[in-house]
């Protein structure tokens, strides 16, 4: 922030949602307002943001959601107690901290009234935090920290619009014409959201994350799935079949794909030399028909998973697989057997996927992370924008 009017502006906290289709639930209502009014005002507050971005907000009655809304009194379990009428009206958590929004139930929440505290305006502000906005020092901005009283002609300030669009971009065009890069017909029946299971996930040498399923693949972006997908694997990786078992990119920049007894090596999307080769030839000590593979961020070694066992492959040592392997997957505390995919993601975390769910692995504690909502979480929500 500057200290003169010219440089006043919004502030981004630094995290945002990777998916665009967000869900919310109101798990604790205020004592002094009819539920229907609360539902309406909260929905209007979310619509403020969905109207100027590609984001959508779907209300759920229960179950895992992205943003939980609660009306609470005093100390309410997050270490940031409310202070009774006036003072602090509400607070919310940035996406990296879960995105939830809490409102002080000691306030007199009102609708379309100069009396009390206007629920819609405060909620719209708090959801700005839930989406990744910090406070703005533009006094007229919604994201300014001070409540400015009921405004019957409420409008977002340009500063708020600039802020949220810096994070999520503009609303999607609603034209029904397929985008020119739309994949041809048969791709349409390829579906990631029906059960959100994948054959494998891997990062390319350029740090792009791809999901493979059957004959098709999707490119994952920061937020969700890139538009214009799915596409056919064979069109982008010439010579590579569908229904791949596992894939990873090693620090030599090569990407290795595994299927049945064979493996392929690519530089980018170009096959290196004459592949496929036998896994027993190129990865001595590794079995055929593996479930998943990844390069673990903890030591840069290659890990293969099959059934209830895992192998560690180190190309720099002889033999590359010590005879103490295989070991039980249960060593990776909380990770299930019979995995679909394993991924060392660009955020530094290790993720395991199985039948539409995923687990975030904490390399420090060497166990699946303890978080709220707990793992496993639905991969469709959190990864594929379903």
């Amino acid at each position: 922030f500057g200290i003169d009017a010219r440089s006043k502006r919004y502030a981004l906290q630094g995290t945002r949602w990777r998916v665009k289709n967000l869900t919310y639930k109101i798990s604790k209502y205020p004592r002094n307002l009819p539920k229907a009014d609360v539902d309406m005002e909260i929905s209007k507050a979310f619509n403020i943001w969905s109207g100027i971005t590609p984001l959508t907000f779907t209300k759920k009655k229960s179950g895992p959601v992205h943003i939980e809304v609660r009306f609470e009194n005093g100390e309410h379990g997050d270490g940031d107690p409310f202070d009774g009428p006036g003072g602090t009206l509400a607070h919310a958590f940035f996406p990296v901290y879960g995105g939830d929004a809490h409102f002080d139930d000691a306030e007199r929440w009102t609708v379309n009234s100069y009396r009390g505290t206007n629920l819609f305006q405060v909620a719209a502000h708090e959801f700005g935090h839930s989406l990744g906005l910090s406070h703005s020092d533009v006094r007229a901005a919604l994201m300014a920290p001070f409540y400015r009283g009921y405004d019957p002609t409420f409008e977002l300030n340009d500063d708020d619009v600039d802020a949220i669009q810096a994070l999520y971009g503009l609303p999607k065009k609603t034209n029904n014409k397929p985008t020119p890069t739309e994949a041809p017909g048969e791709e349409e029946d390829a579906e990631l959201c029906n059960d959100a299971t994948v054959d494998t996930l891997f990062n390319s040498a350029e740090g792009v994350t791809y999901a493979f399923k059957g004959l098709h693949y999707w490119k994952l972006t920061e937020d969700s799935i890139a538009s214009g997908y799915p596409r056919l694997i064979s069109k982008s990786w010439p010579g590579l079949p569908g229904n791949i078992d596992a894939a990873f990119t090693y620090k030599n920049g090569r990407t290795y794909f595994f299927k049945g007894t064979q493996y392929w090596r690519y530089t980018g999307k170009k096959m290196d030399g004459d592949y496929p080769k036998q896994i027993s030839e190129g990865f001595t000590g590794i079995p055929n028909n593996i479930n998943a593979a990844m390069v673990w961020g903890g030591n840069g070694k290659i890990y293969f998973y099959k059934g209830s066992k895992f192998w560690r492959y180190d190309p720099t040592s002889k033999p590359p697989v010590k005879n103490s392997y295989p070991k039980d997957i249960s060593n990776w505390e909380g990770v299930p057997n019979d995995l679909d995919a394993a991924l060392h993601y660009t955020n530094g975390y290790t993720y395991f996927f199985k039948k539409g769910s995923y687990y975030r692995f904490n390399d420090r504690t060497f166990s699946v992370d303890v978080a709220d909502p707990p793992f496993p979480r639905p991969a469709g929500y959190w990864w594929f924008g379903c």
């Binding site: 009206l89 509400a90 502000h125 920290p145």
Partner: protein, 78 residues
């Protein structure tokens, strides 16, 4: 160190709650030592953010602004 008047104690807690002073200062009994300069700078930052005259003093306008209803999220996030 001069003992802080009640108004100043509230101001220190407010400035700490919203990110202008170290978080430990939200507890008035923390015994946390702080220089006058640090306090002045924190007041100036708050006054700049809130669009007030930047005096570095706990003047009337600043104290009144600190009483306004507001969002509980810090103004300055690490």
């Amino acid at each position: 160190v001069p003992t802080l008047q009640d108004e100043s104690v509230k101001a220190v807690m407010y400035l700490a709650q919203f990110g202008y002073l170290p978080a430990q200062m939200t507890n008035p009994n923390s015994g946390h030592l702080m220089s006058q300069d640090a306090m002045t700078d924190a007041i100036k930052e708050f006054q700049a953010f809130a669009g007030l005259n930047i005096t570095g003093n706990l003047d009337k306008e600043t104290v009144e602004t600190m009483k306004l209803p507001r969002c509980g999220v810090k103004d300055k996030v690490g």
